[in-house]
């Protein structure tokens, strides 16, 4: 039995880390797309239009039930097949990153729309009623009163989502994407699986580290935007008064 080489472990980490950039690209891209479109889906779920509501709920229910391996392949083979007859373009040779972003975006729209919907409900109708009774329009009530509060409630869940996207995206290597997972697979093949433990422990360390960092980031964000921050970090109550009067 071969002993585990610590030196090789670190060497492989250094070899894999440069590809973290690729990983973060698809994580952030799908997060952004999820927030933008998830907003519309959440609005559909909350609103009154039966058709949109049904569509949004069905979409979420179905997407949440599909494993990532399955969805990745479905997108990888399906999207070119759909695009070819419509646009006449063969995109099956396109950068694998695009397919991963599409797949993860489909997921993030489902997750984020659900998060937005539940944090909206968490705020409570009373805030809205007080706002409109006070002369604000529906839109102003939403934008100035509901949204800021819902945003803070949603932050921890958004943090979980981004970590989920990081992990689901790891299956991109099955269609040939060279992110950290793909790089690890290549390195492993190149060394004929002799250093498999060192490589994959290294990879696990990178994922673990990134997840931990992201978690810390979101805890920080939650504190930063919450009311407690405003209360603790304004040195003088007078200072607030000055701010108001100007």
């Amino acid at each position: 039995m071969k002993p585990f080489s610590l030196e090789l472990f670190f060497k492989y980490i250094i070899k894999i880390v440069p590809f973290l950039g690729v990983t973060m690209i698809y994580v952030l891209a799908s997060l952004l797309i999820g927030i933008v479109f998830g907003f519309f889906f959440a609005a559909a779920k909350i609103g009154n239009n039966r058709f949109f509501k049904l569509f949004a709920y069905c979409y979420t229910a179905i997407l949440r039930s599909i494993p990532s391996v399955v969805l990745i392949f479905l997108v990888y083979y399906g999207v070119p097949a759909i695009v070819k007859p419509i646009l006449g373009v063969d995109i099956s040779r396109a950068n694998r990153l695009i397919f991963i972003i599409i797949t993860l975006s489909l997921y993030s729209i489902a997750f984020i729309s659900e998060i937005m919907r539940s944090s909206y409900h968490a705020i409570g109708r009373g805030q809205y009623e007080a706002a409109v009774s006070n002369g604000l329009s529906g839109f102003q009530a939403f934008y100035r009163i509901i949204l800021p509060q819902a945003f803070v409630v949603a932050i921890p869940n958004l943090g979980n989502t981004i970590i989920s996207l990081l992990k689901e995206g790891s299956l991109g290597f099955t269609i040939g994407l060279i992110d950290i997972m793909g790089r690890a697979t290549l390195l492993n093949a190149a060394t004929y699986s002799n250093h498999i433990l060192e490589i994959y422990f290294g990879l696990a360390a990178i994922y673990w580290g990134t997840s931990a960092l992201l978690e810390r980031l979101f805890v920080y964000l939650e504190n930063r935007f919450s009311l407690n921050y405003k209360l603790e970090h304004t040195a003088d109550k007078q200072a607030i008064q000055m701010e108001e009067m100007v």
Binding site: E129, S133, N134, L136, I145, L227, L231
Partner: protein, 253 residues
Amino acid sequence: MDAMLEVKQVHKAFGKHEILKGVDLNVDKGDVIVILGPSGSGKTTLLRCINFLERADKGTLSLDNMEISMKHAKKKEITYVRKKTSFVFQSYYLFHNKTALQNVTEGLIIGRRLPKRQANEIGMNALEKVGLKDRHAYYPSQLSGGQQQRVGIARAFAANPDVILFDEPTSALDPELVGEVLAVMKKLAREGTTMIVVTHEMSFAQSVANKVLFMDGGVIVESGVPDEIFVRPKEERTKQFLRRIIPDSDYVI
């Protein structure tokens, strides 16, 4: 003299349950109207229908001689009514993410488009009137229930509405805090503010109201000046209700 606010034959059902079965209400300027009644009698629903937090099934609302159908009111008409009325909630519903002063000025700056300086001035005066000028920079989570409700009242009258609607303003408060809120409301009443108050606080009704309405089962059973209602109630239902609320010894025959 035409009534300032008139509600005619308002009906409201929730599903199969009819809550309001044809209620009329006349409000003159300077009136302090108290609505009493057991729970489920429709008093809160009536109030909420007036500023369209609930959409009535039937009825008309006249405000300053403008007649509005309560069922088919358009957005412009609803906004018009909401600009001329204010609402104080049982659970205060202060904006959690705004300070006391910001809570009061939010409707002025954003809703009525007053310049910030003017709004802040009005806001500080309002807070002073309710005795909370020194707490203007506090967030609702830092205020007691009574203080929060006082801010809520300040928020309501700062906009200088024609009528202020109070929905059981002291029901959610600890007994020691009820007094401070009632004091503010009495002050407002004495200054001539037009108020419609749904409450269980008999002392308020007896000392400040100039009209008392007793509601039960979705209709107004009896109405009159406080003396008439409390001392010489005519209807049996009114007598039953009062017997439960006021100890017998308070009765003067």
